[in-house]
Amino acid sequence: MTSVQLYCGGGEFEDIALANLFARLELSRAALADPFAAERIEVIGDVSKRLLADRRTLNRPAIAYFAHWTRPAALRDLARRFEATSPPDVVCVPRGVALHIPPKNVETIFLFSWTLAYLAGNANLVRLPAQVDSVMLEVIDLLVERLRATQQQTEYFVRYPADDAINAALCGAADARLVWGGDAKVAAFEKFPLRNGGKAIWFGDRYSYALISGEALEAIDGAELKRLARNVFVDIFTFDQMGCSSPHKIYILGDRRRHGQVVAALADAVQEEAARSGTNISASHSIRKIAEAFALAAENPGADVAFRSGELTTVVLPAPRRAEDRLGGGFLTVEFIDDLNEVIAQIRSKHQTITHYGIKKDALSEIARRGGRFGLSRIVPVGQALDFDAVWDGYDLLRELTRSIRLR
């Protein structure tokens, strides 16, 4: 009989036969919780407190964000919003067993994925990423340890080598499935039916960019430019710019001749921030970025390339292009637009996040309303590109992870 490896904490795994795992999941199904059950809020809140109390968390932005996002006050807000948006005459119940297939390398994703499903009351089966770094393992250990102290054992963190038979079997035992990791990954799982036609939630390939007002840039002082640069840096360099919501291009609303200089100053400030904060861009990727920048320059007369010192390479283009640059690792294209309609006109279904600075609220609503029909699922301030939220990629995840029972 095939088996998977069950995480027991402290870096240790033990083999568990699938039949045994499924028997335990069956028991879990009888032990589901109400959405936002007190005990579950407490579990998450406790882990958050432990993380926030650890000084090392300060230097671990991705963990720090998770800890902040799950602090008890934030969980209460989440619960209130869930309550407030539930339709009348409806009782919300968990779906059952949720299967989480996180991406290989953006490790924190599965924490959010799991947290929301857990808060919704589900039992969970999480396939741990192939590579989990030691920092992440510490967080999982905190979780596993805290979960062990609960009354009901409903949470399973497993790993197994890529295997269609195991994937198929796990899907057949799941009532909801969250697949992260792009179109190819989604396609690989699409063929496996869920238990009783359960809920499949997909996170495919996405493309994201920033929108900054040239006028606003002209108006800010040095300190504000620095703050903005810090935020742009966080958006770009978290997960080496390879998150679905990492911006690859900046649209500047305004004229290149008027704002070219201040945009260059912003790029320099982002570079300084990157050099100061210590990014980890390899030399071979830096060369790749230069080659890509030169190729764009060759094809676009009038472009301007700045490759500074390894971290950030920027290409200012003479005219807006349809092309989606996705090289990542500190590679930015800058294109000037006269009119927000130019942004709306290029929105595609795979576009996910626009990070914005200096753009008026009603203009953003207009982009959401008119552009949203073609794509986009997030419009957030610069600096929040990677801030995970319960509403993600067009899904209100807490709703998706519960079922609504009509009660009259």
């Binding site: 390398n105 990791g181 190819a184 679905c244 390899s282 030399a283 030169f294 060759a298 390894g310 990542g328």
Partner: protein
């Protein structure tokens, strides 16, 4: 033209201090040449180097990353005669290098100036440790084939040691050695081929190669994997075949004809019309002698494509400047192979079910 003056000199015969101003003048000429004739090159120099074509020092001459030739076909000639392609590792775009009659002729003269001191003026019999099929179609030739064709200009009565399936044709090798016994002959092949197809294949069969001059290239990556160093390579050739004249060289398709040949001191020296700059892999600032970094190769040779200043992904170090004792002037370098390749992490998994 500066190339004409320098190619007449024997390789590594000009002291570094004298060479630098000559090279700078020639490189500036070439930057202007390519700027005028290759629109893509002009766009790049305008975008990334402020449009400056007159450099004050060799280090300021605009450079192109070698991998750009995988992305773009860059030509400065109205009359190309062939396109060189790198063999390219699997799944990668090959480099495409545009060659015209003039640049082809410059490559030949360049190689002549480099190998003259090693091989003498007369053509000598050549055994290629490769297959004839690699050089069959000059129109679609790979870098490997071009390297062999280049060496064939020094050889007479060329024989090939391998069949088209890359198997050793023992008789071809034994007959060649027998036939040219008692006179100097040339053996050329890629380092890994010389090791596997000659050294290893003939380890139980005596071959007297005491008259052979072995020239090899292609890098040590595969040999490092099986833990063979340059010293071991040389020692084994001496012990097994009595070969004492062994010359490694460093070169790549974007810089064909401007190769760095190994000298007695074990270092590789540039020809008179080329030079090397070592740069910090991260900041790209030039590094002083003794520090390891990325190699940028400048050469006065390429006219048909903008390849006179190329930033490679090879790591190396300048060990010495001018070694009169070894009759080698200019920079003596050591190569450490390619920068380690790296992959970025991300939301999107590369292999569907692999995560």
């Amino acid at each position: 033209m500066m190339f004409e003056a320098l190619v007449k000199r024997e390789a590594a015969s000009t002291a570094d201090a004298q060479k630098r101003p000559l090279l700078l003048a020639g490189l500036n000429e070439l930057t202007a040449h390519h700027y005028t004739l290759c629109p893509s090159y002009k766009n790049i120099v305008d975008a990334a180097f402020g449009g400056r074509i007159e450099a004050d020092a060799i280090e300021q001459v605009p450079y192109l990353p070698a991998s750009l030739f995988k992305r773009l076909v860059l030509s400065s000639t109205p009359k190309p005669i062939l396109t060189l392609r790198s063999s390219g590792t699997s799944g990668q775009q090959p480099s495409q290098i545009i060659i015209d009659a003039e640049t082809s002729e410059r490559q030949s003269r360049g190689l002549l100036s480099i190998f003259h001191s090693v091989l003498g003026a007369k053509r000598i019999p050549l055994l290629v440790i490769d297959s004839r099929s690699v050089v069959m179609n000059p129109q679609t030739i790979t870098a490997r084939g071009a390297g062999i064709l280049g060496m064939m200009k020094f050889g007479a009565k060329t024989a090939f040691a391998l069949d088209s399936q890359m198997n050793v044709v023992e008789n071809a090798v034994v007959d060649f050695v027998e036939q040219h016994k008692g006179q100097p002959f040339l053996i050329f092949g890629f380092t890994f081929m010389v090791w596997t197809k000659l050294v290893q294949h003939f380890q139980d069969r005596p071959l007297d190669l005491s008259n052979a001059i072995v020239v090899h290239s292609g890098g040590w990556k595969k040999l490092e994997e099986i833990k063979v160093t340059n010293e071991q390579f040389r020692a084994r050739l001496a012990e097994q075949f009595n070969v004492t004249r062994v010359y490694n060289f460093y070169g790549f398709v974007e810089q064909l004809g401007s190769i760095f040949l190994e000298a007695e001191d074990g270092l590789l020296y540039a020809p008179s019309y080329a030079d090397v700059i070592v740069r910090d892999p991260k900041t790209l600032r030039p590094l002083p002698i003794g520090e390891t970094g990325l190699l940028q190769i400048v050469s006065l040779l390429p006219k048909s494509y903008p390849g006179h200043s190329i930033l490679t992904e090879d790591l190396g170090v300048v060990r010495r400047i001018d070694n009169p004792a070894a009759a080698r002037m200019g920079k003596g370098i050591q190569i450490f192979g390619r920068l380690p390749a790296s992959e970025l992490r991300g939301c999107s998994d590369v292999i569907a079910a692999g995560a």
